[in-house]
């Protein structure tokens, strides 16, 4: 709830402050990203313009941060330990709202732009994500699991930070490239852009992006979920047909 309010506030900020503050006009290179069968990752270009009131010249020291966030999902993070010579899952922590994808790009490292409190309000940066862990675990245990999750997803390219990933030209145009790996989950993503000056977020704007599995693979994935039984029957039928067809073909060739 707190997060939502902060976000709405960020969106409303330009209106509330009227002409005094600049406005953001963001766009993305693809509104729809489709995962194809040979999908090995795509690059999304997030760009836009900063519009200053009264055609005033841009002031130096204005920075931009761009966040691309996937749908939130509840997850369980498990930790392996060696038990009687065998590595197996021992500990577990639930997180109720982990983004399935999170990438943040900024024109300068985030730590130089905002303090921790502001970062937490806007969820800017991996360390500021609100994962809502399930109760019960001690603080240091939670931190260990959180760190494990961030580290894992950073290496899988599901989470990413580009500390100098936003380019600002002439003080008015900005652009950032964000890599989307092949194993991203489908769903509605949000691309948020923040204008930052003097440690404060002075403007914000958001766009939605749909990531879908289209074509044959999309159909297969959907069929497996929606029509599980028919999918199973089809799998059996296809393998029977292939097995029978191959043996029939070979018998004809070799007698």
């Amino acid at each position: 709830m707190r997060r939502l309010r902060a976000f709405l506030l960020a969106l409303a900020a330009p209106a509330l402050l009227a002409q005094a503050e600049p406005r953001l006009v963001p766009d993305v290179s693809d509104r729809n990203v489709e995962i194809h069968y040979s999908f090995s990752g795509a690059e999304l270009l997030l760009f836009g313009a900063i519009i200053y009131p009264d055609g005033r010249l841009p002031e130096a020291g204005t920075d931009v941060a761009v966040v691309l966030k996937g749908p939130l999902e509840p997850i369980v993070v498990r930790e392996k330990q060696k038990v009687a010579g065998i590595w197996m899952n021992v500990g577990r922590v639930r997180f109720r709202s982990a983004p399935s994808f999170y990438a943040v790009a900024s024109s300068r490292p985030l730590a130089q732009l905002i303090d921790e409190r502001t970062a937490a309000i806007y969820e800017l940066g991996l360390e500021s994500l609100q994962l809502s862990p399930g109760g019960g675990a001690r603080a240091e245990v939670l931190r260990r699991f959180e760190h494990g999750l961030l580290d894992l997803r950073l290496r899988n390219q599901l989470y990413a930070e580009y500390p100098r990933g936003v380019e600002i030209s002439e003080g008015v145009l900005y652009r950032a490239r964000i890599l989307i790996p092949a194993r991203v989950p489908v769903g509605t993503y949000t691309a948020e852009t923040f204008l930052i000056r003097d440690g404060r977020v002075i403007a914000g704007a958001a766009r939605e992006i749909r990531i879908e599995k289209l074509g044959f693979e999309g159909f297969v994935a959907e069929a497996a979920e929606r029509w599980a039984f028919a999918y199973g029957v089809t799998a059996v039928a296809v393998s029977l047909l292939l097995g029978w067809g191959a043996s029939a073909a070979f018998r004809r060739r070799y007698g």
Partner: protein
């Protein structure tokens, strides 16, 4: 040439998967085993999630067993009555196994359980086969004790079971509870490990049930055909981890490989073939055991809820 596996959720090299299928098919044709016990671990080593590897290997086995069943059927080498009893047990086993699989998945122990079961199963079977083929190849001497033991047609435990039926083709008069139980166990193993279970069922049918040899392989294949088909349905509806693209790629390789394997088998000593298989099986078991004891690359894993 990469292809995206929609259920496994990752891109794989087509040639690697088809090649793996071909290699396993070659073994199938040469030695007459289903090969699921090789496909599943190798897929796991390759990075396919264990649940998807197990479920899709099962689907592949359905395809490879059909041609075998048809061939044995033509030679009247299938005891349909016995097969039906074992299949009934197998389907019950696969349904129960599906629940166990789900429970283990939810508690996060499925990967460990799959690995431990594989190490135990492949390790013991590999050792037995290695010893047997080494004896046949005159590399070691048979133990004297075994040679003297009189051959016994019926296992006393199985003869003690109530309610006897006549199985004409198998030449047996035994309680259907024994094959039913055997089928149940093989159904469980099929769901948990993605194996047809032929390499367990064939010896069990010969030594435990005492079935006549000419119907053993055909009946076992019939059982594998139906139980793997049922298991595919169980996986499709409970764990949702059947990857049809992966199964088809494996099949493309294995059906062709099996034909060449059968041709190769006529040119080689069968004892040598069994020795090769024993070494392969022991190698896979060793690799699985290493994986259990080695510090894994990922200490943390994420599961969606």
């Amino acid at each position: 040439m990469d292809i995206y596996l929609p259920i496994a959720g990752l891109s794989v090299n087509v040639l690697v998967i088809v090649g793996l299928g071909g290699l396993v098919g070659l073994l199938t044709g040469m030695v007459g085993v289903g090969g699921g016990f090789l496909t599943t671990p190798i897929l796991i080593f390759y990075g396919i999630p264990p649940a998807v590897a197990v479920a899709s290997a099962t689907t592949q086995i359905t395809g490879t067993s059909i041609s075998g069943v048809l061939a044995h059927r033509r030679r009247r080498g299938v005891d349909v009555q016995m097969g039906a009893v074992i299949i009934a047990g197998g389907i019950a086993g696969s349904i129960v196994g599906g629940f166990i699989f789900r429970l283990l998945q939810q508690s996060g122990q499925i990967d460990t359980v799959i690995s431990i079961l594989y190490v135990l199963l492949l390790g013991s079977i590999g050792l037995m086969m290695a010893k047997e083929s080494a004896t046949a190849l005159d590399m070691i001497r048979p133990s004297a004790r075994k040679a003297e033991r009189p051959a016994r047609r019926h296992n006393p435990l199985i003869a003690a079971l109530p309610m006897r039926w006549r199985f004409y083709r198998s030449g047996l008069y035994i309680s259907p509870l024994a094959p039913l139980g055997l089928g149940f166990i093989s159904g469980l193993l099929t769901v948990l490990l993605g194996i047809g279970g032929g390499f367990i069922m064939v010896p069990a049918m010969i030594y435990l049930l005492g079935m006549s040899a000419q119907v053993v392989v055909g009946t076992s294949l019939l059982q594998i055909l139906f139980v793997t088909a049922a298991t595919t349905l169980v996986h499709a509806t409970t764990t949702r981890s059947v990857d049809i693209v992966l199964a088809v790629l494996l099949l493309l390789g294995s059906v062709v490989g099996a034909q060449y394997g059968a041709w190769l088998a006529q040119k080689m000593k069968p004892e040598l073939l069994r020795m090769i298989l024993a070494i392969v099986v022991l190698g896979v078991a060793f690799r699985m055991a290493l994986q259990l004891g080695w510090r894994p690359e990922e200490i943390y894993t994420v599961q969606m809820l």
